[in-house]
């Protein structure tokens, strides 16, 4: 079934089986998100893409588009909720943008700028999470992990390796490594793996590449987070041959 629905007052088409996120992106409408990435199984965990569908909240990355439904996305109330969620991600980890090599290429930072997050209302947790630098070419810095699960999905579904998992519960949740030692060095992860490149923040990094791109040429120096997201969808369509 295909059809149309209304998002922020604009009528847009959808194809059978598309989520609200996918249909919106096809139509050039940006819905802020962090755990979603085109081509990956939706996860629905960051809740940043929450929209109102006919008056009820739903994750745009998992909710299917419905004929005739009315979706609210870019509203002050929803963006305020998104700002609060983004703030929580910042305070729950150790996100030191001034010293982070991902700055300018970081989706969390870009979403925060998009949402006009200028100060914190919550206290920082300053958790002790640690760095796994054991692998010769790949660094895992759990301080910056936002538990988006993208590396887990990438390693499992794209690389076929199952290197990562989200372990523990609640506030103690951590990305864990599938090796008896728990160390990245003892897995078969490789720099060419999708799991290494999919991280939206500075948690999984290829070593010795830091700050190689000058300020002014980084991803979000050149394009907004919305433009980058829409382009990702188009690139995915081309990969799929549609």
């Amino acid at each position: 079934m295909s059809g149309h629905f209304i998002i922020d007052g604009r009528t847009i088409p959808f194809r059978a089986g598309q989520t609200i996120m996918e249909a919106a992106a096809d139509a050039g409408v940006y819905i802020p998100h962090l755990c979603h990435r085109p081509g990956y199984t939706p996860h629905g965990s960051c809740k940043l893409c929450t929209v109102d569908v006919d008056g009820r909240p739903a994750s745009a990355c998992t909710a299917k588009a419905q004929e005739g439904s009315i979706v609210e996305n870019d509203t002050p109330a929803l963006n305020d909720d998104r700002r609060a969620l983004t703030e929580m991600l910042f305070v729950e980890g150790n996100h030191i943008c001034p010293a982070c090599e991902k700055t300018g290429d970081c989706q969390l930072q870009a979403v925060a700028y998009h949402l006009k997050l200028v100060s914190y209302r919550f206290d920082h947790f300053y958790p002790a999470r640690g760095v796994d630098a054991s692998h010769p070419d790949i660094l895992l810095d759990r301080n910056r992990c936002i538990l988006c699960d993208l590396c887990v999905r990438a390693s499992r579904d794209v690389d076929g390796k199952n290197v990562f998992e989200i372990g523990h519960r609640g506030i103690r949740s951590r990305v864990i490594v599938n090796a008896a030692s728990g160390r990245l060095a003892d897995t078969d992860i490789d720099v060419s793996d999708a799991a290494v490149r999919v991280c939206p923040v500075g948690a999984i990094l290829i070593k010795r590449r830091a700050f190689a791109v000058p300020i002014g040429k980084r991803t979000y120096d050149l394009k907004s987070v919305a433009e980058v997201a829409i382009e990702e969808v188009r690139a995915q369509r081309e990969d799929e041959g549609g």
């Binding site: 010293a99 760095v131 630098a133 010795r208 000058p214």
Partner: protein, 500 residues
């Protein structure tokens, strides 16, 4: 190692004068004067009451992150920390010789830093003292008053600093806290458009820098006895010099001279600085006290910065600045070469050198080339030394096999000058303290001599502070004898003395 900080035979008889904090310096410090029963200065101490944490919290971080991380030590000369750390990381990645483009891009960035920092200090922080006198009305002691009294000078100061900041922005992407250097090189070269943009204002930058040197030279000509004698003492000096003895702010070997100007060591590979410079701690300051091993902890203190560099080098490799160096060294039979306030003069000579250096580099086609990074054999230890605006800056790191920092030691310029600033305060207090009463002129004079060193107190301890000011005298029984307070708005008051 720790040494005793009370040297008096009967410390119970000492009285204590406290100046807290000191204004128009970068950061937060306070001064204590210890007086004996006859009101003679027993000791002067510049306390650094902020805490530095960078050496601790870089531990565990990957080494390639450090040049950008540590520049957050400071908002005034972050470039110096960025470059010193990058030079240390060059050693770690085995980059023994950078490409010409990388070397020159870094030098351009560094000249921009020297220019903006020296202009900031001279025009914004020091010029009110020099133009209006040390005891001028509080309302006059700022750049706004300088602009009212001498609009042309103030405008030149603002635009000189702006030009230095623009050099930094073009080379590193931002005026403050950009990124340019990476281990083994740089991340960009100049475009022809960027070069032409900087060329547009370079001639006036050189000309105005010449005028600034002439201004301070003229002040010396008029008041040499007073300016030279202000808190006068002799010291040893340390700085980098180029292989041929030239002034080199970016790279070279370490040279030290003693109080008579004789060379103690020369062209020392800075990777082994530890063989020549050691540090002690004292319980009343978070700032360490470095000394030359050859002279020992008591006598081995020294000065760094513009005065040290101009005294240490054999020549300056740009003609206008070298002519000014010769004039300075020859002035009044060399009378200014140990003077505290000659820091201002030599700082302006260096600003002129930086302007000339930028002009020279902008004409160099290597800046436009795209050969940016080299690597070699990995090492586990890296030392980077640079001549920052305020003096020699040492960054020393060790990494583990996983490429994480396990140890860091940073000796910043203000730390090298620590004992010298104490001595300067002591000498000024000897000259100007009169009896029991803390007077505002005394307070002003002490601040003037500290300010000559352009200390970056936040840098020396790596934190930030704020600035009202209070001086008190406390007797041996702990009772407050006198107190003078200056609020942030400049109001000076004498609260009733309270028992401490």
């Amino acid at each position: 190692m720790t040494i005793a900080y009370e040297t008096a035979a009967h410390p119970e008889n000492l009285r204590r004068v406290v100046i807290d904090p000191i204004s128009r310096v970068e950061g937060h410090g306070k001064v204590t004067l210890l007086l004996d029963a006859d009101n003679r200065i027993q000791q002067a101490r510049l306390h650094i009451v902020e805490f530095r944490g960078f050496e601790k919290f870089v531990q565990g971080r990957p080494y390639w992150e450090v040049p950008v991380l540590v520049q957050r030590l400071c908002g005034i000369c972050p470039v110096s920390h960025h470059l010193a750390a990058s030079k240390a990381m060059d050693m770690i990645v085995g980059a023994t010789e950078l490409t010409p483009t990388a070397d020159k891009m870094r030098r351009l960035l560094h000249f921009g830093q020297i220019l903006q920092s020296h202009a900031l200090h001279f025009f914004y922080l020091a010029s009110p003292d020099l133009l209006f006198g040390f005891d001028a009305d509080i309302a006059q002691r700022n750049i706004v008053a300088v602009a009212a009294a001498n609009p042309q000078l103030a405008r030149q100061g603002v635009l000189l600093r702006k030009y230095g900041q623009e050099v930094i922005r073009v080379t590193s992407g931002k005026r403050v806290h950009g990124s340019c250097a990476v281990p083994g090189g740089v991340n960009k070269h100049l475009t022809p458009e960027e070069r032409d943009y900087l060329l547009a204002d370079i001639e006036r930058t050189v000309a105005w820098s010449q005028e600034a040197v002439a201004l301070i030279r003229g002040m010396y000509s008029e008041r040499s006895e007073f300016l030279n004698g202000f808190g006068f003492f002799r010291s040893a000096y340390v700085s980098l010099v180029r292989g041929d003895g030239a002034l080199d702010l970016y790279h070279g070997g370490l040279r030290a001279r003693n109080t008579r100007g004789e060379v103690i060591f020369d062209h020392v590979d800075y990777a082994s600085y530890w063989d020549h410079i050691f540090e002690v701690t004292k319980p009343w300051s978070y700032m360490k006290f470095p000394y030359l091993r050859a002279l020992g902890p008591e006598d081995g203190w020294y000065r760094v910065g513009p005065l040290a560099r101009i005294n240490n080098c054999d020549f300056i490799p740009t003609p206008l600045a070298d002519a000014e160096r010769i004039a300075f060294r020859g002035f009044d039979n060399g009378s200014a070469t140990h003077a505290n306030l000659a820091y201002h003069w030599t700082r302006m000579i260096e600003m002129l050198h930086a302007a000339e250096g930028i002009r020279e580099l902008l004409a160099d086609p290597d800046l436009l080339k795209n050969d940016l990074v080299v690597t070699g054999t990995r090492a586990l230890r890296g030392v980077g030394v640079i001549e920052a605006p305020r003096g020699t800056l040492i960054h020393h790191y060790r990494i583990n096999e996983d490429e994480q920092i396990v140890r860091a030691n940073l000796i910043v310029s203000t730390t090298h000058n620590n004992e010298a600033m104490n001595e300067a305060v002591r000498q000024v207090a000897l000259q100007y303290l009169d009896g029991n009463e803390v007077t505002e002129p005394l307070l002003n004079h002490i601040e003037v001599v500290i300010r000559a060193y352009d200390p970056c107190l936040s840098c020396a301890t790596h934190a930030l502070g704020q600035m009202p000011l209070e001086v008190e005298i406390v007797d041996a029984a702990g009772a407050q004898v006198d107190v003078l307070r200056r609020d942030a708005d400049g109001t000076v008051s004498r609260p009733d003395a309270q028992p401490a």
